[in-house]
Structure formats: structure tokens, C-alpha cells
Assembly symmetry: C2
């Protein structure tokens, strides 16, 4: 089980994943190329993962057998385990708790596809529908305060298995980045009585300097204070606080814009490693008017250096305006 | 000039280094191997850097000529420039200011040495003495609230030039990581009337689970809530709030422990990329009793993945106890 340890000076929590227990020699070995014939996520290898929790399957096919399009399974190397209590305890001068939560994987194709944008719009829509259904299911568990959906694509992103998949983690606390965003959005609403994300969308559509692409329901833009070069944020144009409110009509439009943005990034940046993640309203929050769900995509092009670690500031060597311009022209 | 832009939701400042102006193709090119004969930091190439600000030199040698051991120069590609005003301005919905500050490089050897631990203890002591003298000088400028000394060693650390050197940046604001540490230390002192760093040193020496090495004046330990595998913190054993108070007697002891720790990291982890940085009391702070300067070293072994970006939590796959044990046994 992983331990959550609190830094006694800053109050920052760190997850010590003791079960991963890496020794020095583990860091010396380059990551192995995964062999598709051995891939635990490919169709026909369903016995290489824990039993499935959810799947989109052909009528009549059996669980944990071929016949699926999208499949959700528990992680076999979870960061958090679902059983037990937080057990907040003091250890001498220090504070810790146990890593209670859920850690699931969504396998996005039965074939050995390396990247979600290789799938059709309908297939991507099915993937996002499975994300939604699992998030809706996990929020029934009263212990969980937040569900984080994220993807690590490529070695520089922290990805390990190349077969296209996403991680879904349910947490007993609201993570501090989401908390900070929510606090900022609530403060803005208190001052202006308007959603800050809606105001940004309106402002960006008027300026048209940082808009990458838009469709009926979604907009993709490079944020004014982008932390990373070619960072892209996708938001619903109308105010929607939670990702799980995305219905069948909208999910296809979302799939379309995600595929479009990823293809532009791949064309401009020669198939970069990237992360994407969904920020949505925490389970217990009532800030429906204030918060606006969004998906953040950031290609992993730069290294955090001593300056970033020492200050907490990010350095971005490409202006968001230039990045938007390159992405608009890509195809 | 770089721009500081504020995220309208989280309030996070980002430095958009417009002069670095990276285009997509700049990210595709692998970093070039530096050719020692072309190295701008080697002795004999003094004309390839801006004129020196400081140097430790042989008696009778001329500035910007050979004969130096350690040399400080302005960065030719600075993150901040020293002239001008902050010019805080609003741009539509957004806020920004200009990047005023200083950015200097300390070149740590006249020879093409790749890593500071290859130098002798006396040579390392001279390097730290030059760090100290430049920090003392920059704090005379009333505009600067904080001086950050950091090193990027190796490509994974964000390092670009391989010749051993450090960066020194003077900032018009106290960076948020230091502010957070300072707030935590002040809160602890308010509650206990003791320095939290002194308490940690005492506790760790008693437990002896996370101590890597110690000498008369300094201790090196792996923090209880280490963010990174094999993260090491070096602190003066006696309470000292500012790095610039390090006198001649102590600097040699500091050089000795830094060389020792880096050699242990190199032996255990096969010469990893790493960053180190100094956290010291901000210029205008009166919290002399509360804050305790320290040097943080973190080898760059892991990638930040979607989970870390989405939550702000770090995941560390090696316990600090195991890391300390490996480092104690290394030689």
C-alpha cells in the first residue's frame, strides 16, 4: 500500500509508492519496448489484466473475452487501494496517512493502437462515454471527493505501456491544483457574478489570437498564461460544471475536437509525448455556476529545470499566440 | 524581454520567454553535443561570454583573460533583464508585468569539467564563496527581494551547456515555493518557539534512518516526504538563516559534504542528471529565528506524469529510508 506523507514545513503531501519500491538499478534500465504480441491490453489477452469492471462489447460477447471496443479494468499496480481507512497517524515529528482510493485503467481499443487520435470519431466518443460512466459510478462511493482522469502518452509523459489507455483515479481528498482553480473561479464569480471560464471563452472568441479550433459545442485555445509550449485547453462553449453531464449529442462533438487538436499537435511537433487530463467540479462542491469543466493537453517538450523547482514558476519559451498560429495552420 | 503573465483563474504567474521564441521545429532537434573546443566557458574563450562581473584570479591576471579559477558573467540569454520597471499592466481580461531581474552564470572551472564533484574540496569551496559574494552584492539592489542559486546538470535536468556552471537569478518578488516554506516555518515557530529545520535535524540524528552523511557543521539527509527518489537536503547543523552568512571556516566543510553526496549519487545512480538549489531567507524578511537555509539536490530519474500535473501531488517510487541506505553504502 502506498503511504501519503506530509512535509512538515510546507504541508505538501507526497505519495510514497512503497510497493513500486524502486532500487537504484531500476532507474538505470531504459524502458523496454513493448512487444505487441505480449501486450496485456490487446484483444485475446484479457487474462493478463484483472477482471474487467466495464466494457463496451458486441451483443452476446462474454466479459473478459474478445468482442469489446473499450474496456475498463483495475490497475494491477495501483497507486491507491480501495479497501481500508485513511488511518491518519503521527510518526515522531511527522504526519502520514494511507493511500485509499481507486485506480482504474480504460483500454481504448482492442487493437494495438498507440494513440487515441488514430481511432475514428465514433470510437473516441465511445472512449469518453466509458470515462463518463466510470466517473459517475465511482462518485457513488461516499469516501471519494474527486475523480481524476488522465492520460500519459509516450515515454517523456511518464507513460509505460504504449497501447492507448487512460488512468482514472478516485481520491479521498480534492487535489490542490483543482482546489486552487475552484477557489479562483469562486472568487471571480463573487466579484463579477460571472463564470471566469465563460468570460475567457467570450474574450478569446472576440480576440481570436489564441483560438486553435472550435465547433458547435467546444472550443480549443492556448491559454494566455500557458505553462508549457503548445499547451491546449478544450472547454464546452456553454457553461457546464461537470464532465459527467456530457450527453450523447455533445460527446461526439468533443471526440471530434480532441481528434482534431491531437492531429494538429502531432503534425506540428512530430508526434510528441503528451499528457491530457480532465478538471471537473469536485463531487461535493455546490459551485455549479462558478466552475466549468475542461480538458488540458500539454505536449512534453521542455524539462523542468532548477529555476522552476526553486521558484514554482514555469518558463514557457513559445508564446501561446505563436503556438495557436502554428496549430491553426497545421494539417 | 520576457513577460510575466498571470493565470486569471489560479493566479499562477508564468514567464513567457518571448526572446527564446521557440518554433515547433526547435523542439524536434535533439540537443547538440557540445564540442569542448567551442565551449564558451573554457579558459581562453573569455570573449565568448559577456564581460565578467566577478572572478577568482591569479594575482596579476587581467579581467576577461585566462588566469581565473571561478568566473561570474551575465547570461547572454537571460530570463530577466536588469534594466527597466515591472510595468504591471492589464491586457483585456488578463494581467501581466515585465521580467525585471538579474541572471548571471557562475563558471565553476577554467577547464572543461562536466561536474562540480570532479573538482577538489578547495576548488568547490571557492565556487561557493563566489556564489556567496554575488548574492551579497545583488542584495544591495533595493528592487530585488530574492536571489535564487541553482544548477542544471545533464540534459534531463534542463541543462544546455555541459561545462560545469550554476545560475544565479535575482527576482523582484519572493517565489512562491520559498514563500510557502517560510510561511510554514513561521507558523511552526509560532506554535513551538523552535525552528522546524532544527527540530528535523535533531529528530533525524536521533532516528538515524534518513541521514546520508554528516560532518562537523553540516548534515545531508533524505527528507521524510521526499518528492523525488534520492532527493537529498543539506543543512547547517547549527541554526543559520541565510546562506550568505557562511564564512570561510564553514564553506570548506560545506564543499566537503557536497562533494561527498554528489559522489554517492553518481556511484549509486550511474551519474544521473540532477538539479541543486539553495533556499535562503528572503532579503527583506526578519524571520531570522524561524528560517534555516538549506541546499536541495534532486537527481532527475522520474518523469512528472498526468497524475502529478492534475493533482499537484508528487509520486515517489523509492522510500527516503531506502534511498538513504543505498547512499550510505555507496562509495
Amino acid at each position: 500500500m502506498s503511504e501519503l506523507r506530509k512535509d512538515p514545513i510546507t504541508g505538501r503531501w507526497v505519495i510514497i509508492a512503497t510497493e513500486r519500491g524502486k532500487r537504484p538499478s531500476d532507474f538505470r534500465v531504459p524502458q523496454e519496448e513493448s512487444d505487441a504480441s505480449e501486450c496485456p491490453f490487446c484483444q485475446g489477452h484479457e487474462d493478463k489484466t484483472p477482471p474487467e469492471i466495464i466494457a463496451q462489447r458486441e451483443a452476446g460477447s462474454e466479459p473478459n473475452q474478445p468482442g469489446w471496443q473499450v474496456r475498463g479494468v483495475p490497475s494491477s499496480n495501483p497507486l491507491f487501494v480501495i479497501e481500508g481507512d485513511l488511518n491518519r497517524t503521527g510518526v515522531g515529528l511527522y504526519d502520514m496517512m494511507e493511500g485509499i482510493g481507486a485506480h482504474e485503467l480504460i483500454i481504448e481499443s482492442p487493437n494495438h493502437v498507440r494513440e487515441i487520435s488514430e481511432l475514428s470519431v465514433d470510437e473516441i466518443a465511445s472512449v469518453f462515454e466509458i470515462y463518463r460512466r466510470r466517473m459517475e459510478s465511482l462518485r457513488q462511493d461516499q469516501r471519494f471527493k474527486y475523480m481524476l482522469l488522465f492520460k500519459n502518452h509516450g515515454e517523456q509523459s511518464g507513460g509505460v505501456i504504449e497501447h492507448s489507455h487512460a488512468n482514472l483515479i478516485a481520491l479521498p481528498i480534492v487535489p490542490k491544483t483543482v482546489k486552487k482553480e475552484l477557489e479562483g473561479a469562486v472568487a471571480y464569480y463573487g466579484y463579477k457574478s460571472r463564470c471566469v471560464f465563460c468570460d475567457i471563452i467570450h474574450h478569446e472568441l472576440t480576440l481570436n489570437e489564441r483560438v486553435v479550433v472550435e465547433n458547435d459545442f467546444y472550443i480549443a485555445l492556448t491559454p494566455f498564461a500557458s505553462r508549457f509550449p503548445f499547451e491546449v485547453c478544450i472547454l464546452p462553449k456553454e457553461h457546464v460544471s461537470r464532465f459527467i453531464y456530457t450527453d450523447g449529442k455533445h460527446v461526439k462533438s468533443l471526440a471530434f475536437i480532441i481528434k482534431d487538436v491531437l492531429r494538429r499537435l502531432n503534425a506540428s511537433l512530430d508526434n510528441p509525448a503528451y499528457n491530457y487530463l480532465i478538471h471537473t467540479l469536485p463531487v461535493n462542491s455546490v459551485a455549479q455556476e462558478e466552475f466549468h469543466w475542461h480538458l488540458e493537453i500539454f505536449p512534453r517538450l521542455t524539462q523542468m529545470a532548477g529555476f522552476e523547482w526553486g521558484t514554482g514558476f514555469f518558463i514557457n519559451p513559445t508564446t501561446p499566440e505563436a503556438a495557436a498560429d502554428f496549430l491553426r495552420q497545421a494539417e
